[in-house]
Symmetry: C2
Subunit: 264 residues, 2 copies
């Protein structure tokens, strides 16, 4: 058996490609009650912007946990995108935790207060004013859905946890994210278990080191299927790898088709 | 505005409760191509076993990333449950990475080889033999679906990434996980935005510090709804907190009902 030597796993991405980490904040994720939709959305959008997602962490509404994750990841990645915990209730502690991570105070932002005052008028109570509170030095991120803004400080972007609001905030902020050529992908769907072709696929990967080739089996249907997914920022190299994969399956007499809509 | 002081966020869990971290391994998660189903499943099952999930990390099929996550989390949590990367293809590097994290070699396990030999016979090729390879000193975890085993070493449990197989492996291994009283929850569904009741809910939380109370708004429907979720290992304390939440909404004239099936 052969394991790839450390650091030799082909990635298919330029060495200089920007990286991002995602921090999903909220007890509801770690109880299994809520399926996180923000991580997959941000991962796909960042890929389109040419940014590689290096890691995702889901942490509790717990200040030390948030501080530790933010500080570790903002040092190791170009961008950190965090979601959740910026509402008006007692369990919304993200603004205070991010302030602590940066070693700054947190206070009501005048522009955020004005936005909320315009929306709520006399109903702008203490709880709602929490939504105007950001770390000192943070800039606001526009929220076209429900007004209360997100914020950015340093390389850390903080969005709401409600998916529809988070997505709108991301589109407000994405002009700040400098990426590169988009990540493209293509999928070949084969009717076989991995053990039938794994050795040959390793050889294809070795010959196409500038394309990341992943193999994803699925079970529980009438037939066993495996998806071979090729990713790279270079469409021509994906085409070359996909042709090699299709040739490989032909040689093995394994039925395989390019998945509809998967061409880059 | 008031933010909870650090370390004073009520948790609703016994101080001695066992903790777990989840490590989801695979490029397909961080590209946004595949929605992780393993994290939510493990989180729910661990709650039923009385184990609190402290953190979830999704990392790439990259040896240094896997080693770093495993070593950080096995030191800080009672259990680490990892999924993905134990198949026969070149991108399955989890066994080698876990071995590296523990500073041990990895080799074919005789019992795992025998299981695969019985299944595949003459078709037990080099690629399939990778699935019998585990860190030295690891014990096997039974796989009743597709034979190739998971493994446990120290406090780290390694399962397949395919959800159906992962779930079966978890049930094979769960007798090894010593938890405590199960985490129970109850949900009150209110027709109001959080800003209407956030101050009052903070007071309820302050009076029920042994129950974790979370507030989760949803948008995009005809009416604005917020779910108040109470969690604790103590059913009587959840009932008391739920009664306080229902009284609170009554006093505010906010329509609210216990969500069907949510009683502990």
């Amino acid at each position: 058996m052969r394991f790839p030597a450390q650091g030799k796993v082909p990635l298919g991405y330029p060495a200089a490609m920007k990286t991002a980490a995602l921090v999903i904040i909220g007890n509801e994720i770690l109880s299994g009650q809520t399926q996180d939709r923000n991580g997959p959305f941000l991962a796909r959008r960042l890929g389109e912007l040419g940014v590689r997602v290096a890691e995702l962490r889901a942490v509790r509404d717990d200040e030390p946990a948030i501080v530790a994750a933010i500080n570790e990841l903002r040092a190791s990645c170009d961008y950190v995108l965090a979601t959740g915990g910026i509402g008006p209730t007692h369990d919304d502690i993200t603004a205070a935790a991010i302030a602590k991570a940066f070693g700054v105070a947190h206070a009501v932002h005048p522009k955020a207060r004005a936005l909320l005052a315009a929306k709520y008028g006399a109903d702008l109570n203490a709880a709602r004013l929490r939504m105007a509170t950001v770390p000192t030095g943070a800039e606001l991120i526009d929220n076209p859905i429900s007004t209360a803004p997100g914020f950015v400080i340093g390389n850390v972007y903080v969005f709401a946890g409600v998916p529809e609001i988070m997505q709108a905030m991301f589109e407000s902020a994405r002009h700040r994210i400098a990426g590169g050529p988009p990540v493209r992908s293509r999928t070949v769907l084969a009717t076989a278990t991995e053990g039938v072709f794994a050795d040959q696929l390793a050889a294809v990967q070795a010959q196409h080191r500038d394309v990341e080739i992943g193999s994803y089996p699925s079970f529980g249907r009438a037939k066993v299927e495996t998806r071979i997914v090729m990713r790279s920022t270079d469409a021509a190299r994906i085409d070359a790898a996909a042709a090699a994969v299709e040739n490989m399956f032909r040689a093995l007499a394994v039925p395989a088709v390019s998945e509809p809509g998967s061409a880059p």
